[in-house]
Amino acid sequence: MKGKVGVGDINYFYVCMAAALATAGDPNKVEDAAARDLVLKLNSNGLRLYPSTDSIGAGVKSGEIDVGLMWHARVLMWQNAGIPVKAQFPTEGSVLYLSGMVVPKNAPNKAGAYRYLNAMMEPAAQRGFADRMGYQPTVTNSPLEGALGQRLALPDPAPRMMLPDYGIVGKLQGPTSEWWAKNVRRA
């Protein structure tokens, strides 16, 4: 497996969270020595770092790497694009990615912004996101059926999903980024 594992540089925090999950069972413990040691061990084993998410897909397609760490949704997008790749949920757990949208206090057209947010939550829009981008629905009134439902179905029994503590993530992002740049990128 040496040199056949690749991750995205931009996903550095998630790589560290995965290491923390593996070593401490808690994705927030990215600064633990054991988690950092695991990242360094992975790096010294010929870890390939890619500059963008799509370049990882190209690495998988060309056979440069066999294994990586990626969003489930992105794996589905790659499958749509004909890249031969499958997703596997680690037994240690998977970190949930929560994407938020906000209306700024000084938004010039708040009514329009709310209409946009409401439109995003319509079942048709949710199915569109699921179909095109592989995102699981964020509302309860939009069950996925048929081939789309099968494509996005999570394994049974359901994988262990963990939501990071965003208060901790916010505090640790800067120091972890610097540690990553100095110890993983440079090595």
Partner: protein, 259 residues
């Protein structure tokens, strides 16, 4: 238009960063101190300087013969050759980098060709060679055009006069044309050096994350870490380094050849 953004950048660089508040108004030199006291950041600046210097030398060495030939050409061929030099500038640098990626990537044209010939692949992606090649491909047309316009102003009769006095073509070039073309060559060098120092797409796409140069690193600080004060300080330090070195480059040209 030019000064105001720079002043804003200077003001930001004196602010403090906080993970929750992001940017707190202050007047501190901590961001500059962090950069100059950390061997990691100084190493990235050294890499940037090395790549910029190598790209500049390569552009001048490769560009000068082409510029000379173009300057001395006449008629239809000249227009066609000028078009060939200018044509790459019509394509965006990022698009050109994608072309280089197809060439250098694992399973790409170079890798496949070498693998067929030797049985072993050749990985050029994410190497210094890939980054310098990419930067030279972008900056070479600028160098050629700058030097060509200077050489064109040199009267061909001065070369003929040197040759009529017994100087072979090579000697007449070095003793007559080269000193007269030196100011234009220096301008081309400065232009290439500045463009190379600030290269973003090339080191990002062809160098990969492990090849760290200033522009991608400061963009990372700005966009991923949201640390605008430190990113601003890095931008000003990069700009200052480039300006100081550009100003100092004048001493490389003997006084009698300066314009």
């Amino acid at each position: 238009m030019l000064l105001l953004p720079l002043l804003l950048l200077l003001r930001f660089s004196l602010n403090q960063y906080d993970p929750k508040e992001l940017m707190i108004e202050a007047v501190t030199g901590a961001n500059y101190l962090r950069f100059v006291s950390d061997s990691f950041y100084l190493g990235v600046l050294r890499t940037t300087l090395g790549v910029a210097a190598a790209s500049t030398v390569l552009c001048l060495v490769l560009g000068l013969p082409v510029a000379y030939r173009l300057a001395r050409m006449q008629g239809r061929w000249k227009s066609l050759c000028m078009l060939a030099v200018v044509l790459p500038l019509f394509v965006g640098s990022t698009v050109r980098m994608v072309g280089w990626m197809i060439l250098f990537a694992h399973g790409g044209l170079v890798d496949s060709a070498v693998r067929r010939m030797t049985g072993q692949g050749l990985e050029l992606m994410y190497t210094t060679f890939a980054v310098v090649s990419g930067i030279v491909s972008i900056t070479l047309p600028f160098a050629i055009l700058t030097m060509q316009s200077t050489i064109e102003t040199i009267d061909p009769r001065v070369e003929e006069a040197a040759q009529s006095l017994g100087a072979p073509p090579g000697r007449s070039f070095w003793r007559v044309v080269w000193p007269l073309a030196l100011p234009g060559t220096a301008t081309a060098g400065i232009l290439v050096f500045i463009l190379s120092m600030n290269a973003y797409a090339t080191p990002y796409l062809l160098g990969g994350p492990r090849f760290q140069m200033m522009a991608p690193l400061l963009y990372w600080e700005f966009s991923t870490n949201n640390n605008w004060p430190f990113a601003s300080a890095m931008a000003l330090l990069l700009m200052t380094t480039t300006l100081v070195l550009t100003a100092c480059s004048g001493v490389l040209i003997p006084r009698r050849f300066r314009v």
